[in-house]
């Protein structure tokens, strides 16, 4: 592929360089800061939620009296509903999406496929600023009468219609999601086009690093399914603002001919692919990093890529398992149950491949590797606990309990977060030309592992014991009186988790400000295209568009004679 447009001068002014930037690397960093900011906001919300569950009726220490002066620092019940609604919304759409997809997608795709920028730099710039606008709308909704949305991140009608949510908070929530949908769709179209048409000469699809595979499949799912969510929230806005009855029915809607369950179908047609939208980039990153740090080629890389593709396709036909308790027809229920179970096959295959990759390797336990191994552990737990929720009968009991919360946090929060950290530690030198401190990174890793396993395994335990979700005070129920100590343990784990993230923030900022520039352009000794150029990557990345001659995981070849144990993708493969 030839490069489509000419090379422009590097921007000189502050605004054109850092604000309205068309450079994929700058946009990636914008998304990174944006995501880290919202990760902090969402994390604080999680701590407020956890505090309430462990110590109901007690004031939140230090910050409580500032945030809730009317109740002397105790989280009030209506605020509690707002907190878990916005915690979910923010973590999914404003923290994970911008970090994994916005930041790493933007940064890695062009660099790893040997392109000078994205296919549509203008669309890329707009994608960030639409996301920014969306974030503003969401945050603004907290400061209006009746406060922000409080119907759960799923926003099921009729609770999210005027029947259950007066005030403009829910409308602004819908609007924010709609705008974010526009942003993500623009990004997705851009990623798909870039991967298809901007791969360096010689690079076939299976010569792409698996990170790019993950990001590309994610972009495809985003492009297909975010518009569905956009349509859903738009109809909800119509119901709220223009008096339509798409999702209203029954006694409260005098002339209603709509159906609240319709929204659940629309939501989960998007919602199930969404969980794979979030996890696919992390899977890609793990698959690459396990190979890089085991110093051997990724085991069955083609099978891993095809398994990820299979899951992408399957993810579009299993969404009904979120709705078993709405009582669909038995035939539909059985179909969704069986289809859900087939996801195990490709999952088992890439798990086998991950373990195959480290098998007989020569493993270097740098921080990105530790985080990658951590993902194999937590995603194992997350994936296996999904089985209980896929079978209808156990779901009758476990649906809407903390078992579900534990399960999706293991898959979506723990795995994706660890993936984000692995990527940050790994590409930090390429992004900023400095190395983060390894010791602090390892402290961060072990602290986070203890914290998040305490949180999410505790959730599985109380969920199995029947504790259901979104309760302001669970202990009003007789059968949950015994669960105080586990809930306290979860909260303490959450505080530990939170505290260790400060280590990361310190490490990140300290390295950025005080860190010494790297002397080595390729500190991890890997051969993918982004490491063939200086660190940090220069304006327009590649002086000359590279020609790709071998795969991305050429490590440990015994016939290499040049003193390295790896070769660059631009080098002719040394035959064994």
């Amino acid at each position: 592929m030839t490069y489509a447009h000419g090379i422009h001068e590097a921007p000189k002014t502050f605004i054109s360089k850092y604000i309205i930037s068309f450079d994929h690397k700058v946009i990636a960093k914008q998304f990174l800061w944006y995501g880290i900011f919202f990760l902090g906001v969402g994390g604080m919300m999680a701590l407020l939620i956890r505090w309430t569950l462990a110590y109901p009726g007690e004031a939140f220490p230090i910050l409580g009296s500032l945030l809730f002066p009317h109740t002397n620092g105790v989280v009030p019940p209506d605020t509690y509903a707002m907190l878990f609604t916005l915690h979910g919304t923010i973590m999914i759409f404003y923290a994970i999406t911008p970090i994994l997809i916005g930041a790493f997608g933007n940064f890695c795709i062009p660099l790893m496929i040997g392109a000078r920028d994205m296919a549509f730099p203008m669309l890329n710039m707009l994608s960030f600023w639409f996301a920014f606008l969306s974030g503003l709308v969401l945050l603004a909704s907290l400061f209006i009468p009746y406060g922000g949305a409080a119907g759960g991140w799923t926003s099921y009608p009729t609770l999210s219609t005027l029947i259950g949510s007066p005030g403009a908070g829910q409308t602004l929530w819908c609007l924010a999601i709609f705008i974010l949908g526009i942003s993500s769709t623009m990004g997705a179209v851009n990623y798909i086009t870039t991967v298809i048409s901007f791969r360096a000469p010689g690079m076939g699809y299976f010569d792409m690093p698996l990170t790019v595979w993950g990001l590309w499949l994610t972009a495809i799912l985003n492009a297909i399914f975010l518009p569905v969510l956009g349509a859903g929230v738009m109809l909800l806005i119509f119901d709220r603002v223009f008096g339509t009855h798409f999702f209203l029915a029954g006694a409260a809607a005098t002339s209603g001919t709509g159906d609240p369950v319709l929204f659940q179908h629309v939501f989960w047609i998007f919602g199930h692919p969404e969980v794979y939208i979030l996890i696919l980039p992390a899977w890609g990153v793990v698959s690459d990093l396990l190979s890089f740090f085991s110093r051997k080629p990724a085991f069955g890389a083609k099978a891993t890529a095809l398994s990820m593709t299979t899951i992408t396709i399957l993810s579009t036909v299993v969404y009904g398992h979120h709705m078993f308790t709405t009582q669909m027809s038995p035939l539909l229920t059985q179909t969704f149950m069986t289809l859900t179970m087939t996801i195990s096959i490709p999952s088992a295959i890439f798990f086998a491949n991950w373990l195959g990759t480290i098998w007989r390797g020569s493993i270097r336990f740098h921080s990105p590797m530790l985080f990658s191994l951590g993902i194999v552990f937590v995603f194992g737990l997350g994936g296996l606990t999904g089985l209980y929720l896929g079978t209808v009968s156990t779901d009758l009991y476990l649906h809407d309990t903390y078992f579900v919360v534990g399960h999706f946090h293991y898959t979506m929060a723990a795995s994706v977060l660890l993936g984000g950290f692995a990527g940050t530690y790994f590409w930090f030198p390429k992004m900023f030309g400095k190395m983060m401190n390894e010791t602090l990174a390892k402290i961060h890793f072990w602290g986070s592992m203890v914290g998040l396993n305490g949180i999410f395994f505790g959730m599985l335990l109380v969920g199995y014991a029947g504790m259901h979700r979104r309760l302001y005070n669970p202990f009003v129920y007789e059968f949950m009186k015994d669960m105080t100590s586990i809930n306290t343990m979860i909260t303490i784990s959450a505080l530990i988790m939170g505290a260790f993230q400060l280590v990361f923030v310190y490490n990140f900022l300290h390295t950025l400000i005080k860190g010494k520039p790297v002397t080595d352009n390729n500190p991890w000794e890997v051969g993918t295209l982004e490491w063939t150029i200086p660190s940090p990557a220069p304006h327009y990345n590649f002086k000359e568009i590279p020609t790709v001659k071998c795969g991305p995981h050429e490590l440990g070849n015994p016939n290499l004679k040049n003193g390295r144990d790896f070769q660059y993708q631009t080098e002719e493969l040394v035959e064994a």
Binding site: P77, A81, A150, Y156, P157, T158, L159, G164, G250, A251, P260, V261, R295, K296, A298, F299, G300, A301, T325, P330, M341, T342, S344, A348, I349, A352, L355, G356, I358, W359, R360, S362, I363, L373, V376, F377, G380, L381, L387, V392, S393, T394, Y397, H399, D400, T401, Y464, A465, G466, R469, L471, Y472, P474, Y477, E478, F479, T484, I486, G556, D565
Partner: protein
């Protein structure tokens, strides 16, 4: 002396910690089962758990074992392979097939059997005695309706009960559930069952209680600020107690129901499905 003190401290520590631990694990035990088929769900849960433990041990063995064995100081040279040899493919495919056949197909079949033979097998009121109850959820209250003396729903003699559900032990009970305002979910932790209450729709649930006592009923679906307070009491009573209560309730209903007040008529006709 010092040793003794340390010994005492150690024993105190162990005792307090282990008793705290006993209390800790009590929070991970599901409530007792009071229905004829609730144990089916627990059985499938445990079956899945044992298989999961086996596979998770295999994952951990690979993860920790290979991490230990192939640390670069122990294993300075990596084995150069793409993992695409015939034996590699066979092993990978065996793992994929083993997981699918041993866990997925098994639990799908078991769950499907349970649904068809138990949870979807609604009792037939024309063949056996079935206690029929209509449930209307609203923010933040559970309304239960019994057919009353005429045995027909949506008539002036219906018995209405708020937050207080009484059923006789040993009899099959069928619920028809709907909602007045937002989506709720009728959740019986002790029967391991729940069904959403959806405006404009009627959902169904049945179980057969096996023991008397007082149990919790909860709303499992987020339904607004006071979702957490939307609880009701389930009282499973002996046949006599239940008859006594229902007789009194029917007498009060006949005497007190306001025929002209349409608000009482949230009920609907019970139709066999």
């Amino acid at each position: 002396m010092l040793k003794k003190m340390i010994g005492i401290l150690f024993v105190t520590f162990v005792v307090t910690q282990s008793s705290a631990f006993a209390g800790f694990w009590a929070g991970a035990v599901p409530p007792e089962i009071i229905s004829t088929n609730g144990h089916e769900i627990d059985n499938l849960f445990m079956y899945t758990t044992w298989l999961n433990i086996v596979y998770f041990i295999l994952v951990c063995a690979g993860l920790f074992g290979f991490s230990y064995l192939y640390w670069y100081k122990r294993s300075p040279k990596a084995y150069y392979t793409y993992g695409n040899k015939k034996e590699h493919l066979v092993v990978t495919m065996i793992i994929g097939a083993a997981v699918f056949l041993s866990i997925d197909l098994n639990i799908t079949r078991m769950s499907n059997d349970d649904m068809i033979n138990e949870f979807w097998k609604f009792p037939d009121a024309s063949k056996e005695e079935v206690i029929q109850i209509e449930v209307l959820a609203q923010q933040w209250m559970w309304n239960f309706r019994y057919a009353g003396v005429d045995g027909k729903f949506n008539t002036a003699d219906d018995v209405l009960s708020n937050h207080d559900l009484r059923i006789p032990v040993g009899k099959k009970v069928e619920f028809r559930i709907s909602s007045k305002d937002v989506i709720h979910s009728l959740y019986f932790p002790n029967a391991r069952l729940k069904a959403d209450a959806i405006p404009g729709r009627i959902t169904r649930l049945w179980f057969q209680p096996t023991k008397t006592g007082e149990f919790d009923i909860a709303c499992a679906e987020m339904c607004g600020t006071h979702h957490y307070l939307m609880k009701a009491k389930l009282r499973v009573e002996t046949e006599e107690d239940y008859k006594l209560w229902l007789g009194e309730a029917e007498r009060l209903a006949l005497a007190g129901n306001d025929v002209d007040n349409l608000d009482n008529y949230w009920g609907w006709k019970w139709e066999e499905q």
